[in-house]
Amino acid sequence: MAAEQTDEDLMRAYVAGDHAAFQQLFDRYAPIVFGMTRRHLRNEELAQEITQQTFFRLHSARNDFRLDSKLRPWLLTIAMNLVREHWRRGKRRKMVELDPETKAAPQAERSRMELDERSQLLHAALQQLPESQREVVELHWFQERPYKEVAEIVGSSEGAVRVRAHRAYGKLKKLLKAEVAD
């Protein structure tokens, strides 16, 4: 079986005019971008829109892709810029019901409610972080990006990102411990 193409191979193929490569890139990264933006915005519809826009902008910027570039930081930077732009425009929307369908069996329902409650706690804690710290946690913890790459994506030095991470994790620990204690 042929080895799976790297992101960069696909991007190069796409820049050369291979439209199928664009779909492959979308298939690989759309769920990541969607999950990241939804976690930031708490709005499924908006997260979908930003996911689409991220790839639309990737398309418009494809001729800037250099041979030595890495795709993931590219894509995540575009997505983070869109999220920041959303916040800047003050279009923070009200938190939406993410799962209005509650037709599951009682046991599953109880379990799901517990899971939802826990996820709400996590989200509530994340929402209390400043945007600059939240995006670092998002990229470093949830996306598992190394500090160096996080710094590249958010446009700060690695040292500054480490400081933000240190503060953010410290605050998260405090908030989550308090919630658990309650």
Partner: protein, 285 residues
């Protein structure tokens, strides 16, 4: 790809955080896990989690996720629609080309002004002084243009930096308008009415600023606050072109008829953007 650091070795991550957040990279999955149960797709979705890259994707993971096929189909349609527009081709040019196109429009207008609409005393204008004026505003023009056309895969400039650069551009036009070496170059107005003489200059300034603003916006891929930077660049361009076109001296005239153009342009753009963005959903197109 660099390996992510291990939590236990990362000095920025306090002890116990992993217990609270769950393992890095899968933390939210764990965080939403109740009593060690496997999380359902809905719980993962509720936590805003991606299921990408999981070793054992469950059929139920698709639940709570959008229909990515439909999203892609819609995206393809958007791309095809955009590709049909000639202006979109300009946006997709490499950034160096986009900057070159925008800069060329300004240089073309400046050269055309020198060739066809020069100030009557241009030959008498001390060259070092003219170069100082054009060099100062030209440097700011290049900075503003580069900021306005910053690649979107690079972190966007903060609002503070954008506003700072715009304020610097405006301050520079004002200072150069009233500084004696520049304000004394040219003829004193026959009628000592600064506003009367300022209006034609302002109109001329807007006329030459418009193509610069238009081309910067045309090649822009959607930079946040790009309109403000485009307006600032257009205002700087207008001031430089006016310097080789308008022979009228005097700080009041230069301040009102020349320097104010940048301020009015930026203010106009901000007002229009505020009005337009009230109900606007983020849209690139």
């Amino acid at each position: 790809m660099a390996e992510p650091s291990r939590v236990s070795e990362d000095p920025e991550i306090p002890d116990e955080l992993e217990e609270l957040l769950g393992p890095r990279g899968t933390s939210a999955r764990t965080a939403v896990r109740g009593s060690g149960e496997r999380p359902t797709a809905r719980a993962l979705a509720a936590a805003g989690l991606s299921t990408e890259g999981r070793e054992d994707p469950e059929p139920e993971l698709a639940q709570g996720q959008p229909d990515f096929s439909a999203l892609f189909a819609d995206l393809r349609a958007q791309v095809e629609e955009a590709e049909a527009r000639p202006s979109f081709r300009l946006k997709t040019q490499p950034t160096s080309v986009r900057r070159l196109i925008s800069g060329s429009v300004f240089v073309g207008l400046l050269l055309a002004s020198v060739a066809y609409l020069p100030r009557e005393d241009l030959a008498a204008y001390p060259l070092p002084l003219l170069l100082t004026y054009l060099g100062s505003l030209g440097t700011l023009f290049v900075l503003t243009l580069f900021a306005a056309l910053k690649p979107i895969h690079e972190p966007a400039l903060s609002a503070a930096k954008v506003h700072g650069l715009t304020a610097l551009a405006f301050a520079a036009t004002c200072v150069l308008a009233v500084l004696p070496p520049f304000a004394h170059q040219g003829f004193e107005p026959v009628v000592p009415d600064a506003l009367f003489h300022a209006v034609p200059c302002m109109i001329f300034g807007f006329v030459v600023a418009l193509p610069v603003y238009a081309i910067v916006r045309l090649v822009d891929r959607g930079n946040p606050l790009g309109r403000i930077l485009a307006a600032a660049a257009a205002g700087l361009a207008a001031n430089m072109i006016l310097e080789v076109h308008c022979p009228i001296a005097g700080a009041a005239h230069r301040g009102l008829g020349h320097a104010a153009i940048l301020g009015v342009l930026v203010l106009g753009v901000v007002i229009v953007e505020r009005i337009a963005s009230r109900d606007r959903v983020l849209s690139l197109r």
